[in-house]
């Protein structure tokens, strides 16, 4: 029996860790809801199943992360997930965009899955055991997502019309995708304590080194100098009307009867 006790943490460290958990959970939660919009209308039946399954995985990961956060802060996981106003969500700006077309969805997912892979690899080394254990488990599932999105990226890049749509989507998304690695408030405390084994800036560099050659090899654009310089400080606080609409959708049932259980 090795289920970890939640270690006692000082307030500063606990708040910073809560920010890290919230940012990661919100990323998974919001992208899961965006892509669940494809259920029933994906380009083909097999993809309908795949995209729905991936979205279900992400929402499941978000739930587990919200539960870790709830345990840390004494809140209720459902209340964190569904009880906040849009401005209180902390997902990266990448998840502010509407679903748009299939090429856009593949571009966003590819950017997200590759970034998430780098982040999870780091979190699996976290000194905060409840997080490192969950991250290790999530990694085993995320490999399937990565494999699937890599297949789609290569497939769409192989035909002229689709490649142009992919390229267009990437140009739109690059600056906001970099926001996955925006510094988390209080990050330096977590890096010192090993809860976050490396700074987000280091993870961002690793991610860019991994995916830039792949995209270049497929004739797809990397980030511009402007994208790389774009404001990281509000990368997780900027919200859009597209997200406010999605928020209205995913909170509709919870808002209809506060505190209901089923």
């Amino acid at each position: 029996m090795t289920a970890p006790e939640t270690p006692a943490l000082d307030t500063v460290r606990r708040d910073a860790l809560a920010q890290l958990l919230l940012a990661t959970a919100d990323d998974e939660f919001v992208i899961g809801f965006w892509d669940s919009e494809w259920t029933g209308i994906a380009p083909m039946l097999e993809e309908d199943v795949a995209t729905s399954s991936i979205s279900q995985d992400e929402i499941g990961h978000a739930r587990a992360l919200y539960e870790l956060l709830a345990e840390l802060t004494g809140q209720d996981a459902d209340e964190i997930a569904f009880g906040r106003q849009p401005e209180a969500y902390r997902h990266a700006a990448l998840m502010n965009h509407a679903r748009t077309d299939w090429a856009f969805t593949v571009a966003r997912r590819y950017l997200y899955e590759t970034a998430d892979t780098v982040r999870l690899e780091a979190l699996a080394r976290s000194s905060y055991e409840p997080l490192s254990q969950l991250a290790a488990k999530m990694r085993r599932e995320e490999r399937y997502h990565l494999m699937h999105l890599d297949t789609w990226l290569r497939r769409l890049a192989g035909s002229d019309g689709a490649r142009e749509r992919l390229a267009e989507a990437l140009r739109t998304l690059w600056a906001d995708a970099l926001a996955v690695f925006s510094p988390v408030p209080g990050e330096e405390v977590l890096v010192r304590g090993g809860e976050l084994p490396e700074p987000m800036a280091t993870l961002r560099t690793r991610w860019l080194e991994q995916i830039s050659p792949v995209l270049a090899g497929l004739g797809l654009p990397g980030p511009t100098a402007d994208d790389l310089a774009a404001g990281a400080e509000d990368g997780r606080t900027r919200r859009t009307d597209a997200f406010r609409w999605l928020h209205g959708e995913f909170t509709m049932v919870a808002a209809s009867e506060r505190g209901a259980t089923w």
């Binding site: 029996m1 970890p4 729905s52 399954s53 995985d57 409840p130 488990k137 085993r140």
Partner: protein, 177 residues
């Protein structure tokens, strides 16, 4: 863990082995390998609490709450402890290698290809090896290896869909993870 001498241990394993997986009821939660372990501990009221760790096959598995309820209900019925607590745990990641040999055979007999074994005890398979590992499954109907992966995602989080070129049957595989 319960000491080997505790006669209650065998009773508990036998009871758990009667609980079917809610999504693939041909195999039990023990054969599926989702029981991480159990222990008797003193509870706050001077009695004894039986604590069971349940390892989800997938983090987002919607069947886990059903499993937790069923395990709790079955063990409470045994009246071996004053209280029973079933905890969801990630302390040991569930992998498809945890499915027992009997479990694998039962899956196959009911038309599910068992997952490819990923070298028990080895560190996790590198990302680059995943495709190679997932490409071929043995057809549970005719035993052919002449099969193709149709979709790594299936009707539930833990299943993939294959097609057998010899007996021309689509079939599902319990996903290697």
């Amino acid at each position: 863990m319960v000491a080997a001498a505790d006669p209650r241990e065998a009773v508990i394993w036998a009871a758990l082995d009667e609980i079917p997986d809610p999504e693939i009821p041909v195999i039990s939660v023990v054969e599926l390998g989702v029981i991480g372990g159990f222990a008797f501990e003193p509870d706050t009221r001077g009695g004894e609490r039986l604590t069971v760790d349940l390892l989800p096959t997938f983090v987002g598995c919607p069947a886990i709450d059903v499993m937790r309820d069923q395990v709790g209900e079955r063990l409470r019925g045994l009246e071996l402890a004053d209280e029973v607590e079933v905890r969801i745990s990630f302390a040991v990641p569930w992998t498809s290698d945890r499915i027992s040999l009997e479990g694998r055979e039962k899956l196959r007999a009911s038309g599910f290809a068992p997952p490819a074994l990923m070298a028990i005890g080895a560190p996790s398979v590198p990302e680059s090896d995943l495709l190679t590992m997932a490409v071929v499954a043995t057809c549970p109907y005719c035993g052919s290896r002449n099969t193709t992966l149709e979709n790594p995602f299936g009707p539930t989080l833990c299943r993939a869909i294959y097609h057998c070129a010899d007996c021309r049957q689509p079939f599902e595989q319990f996903k290697a993870v």
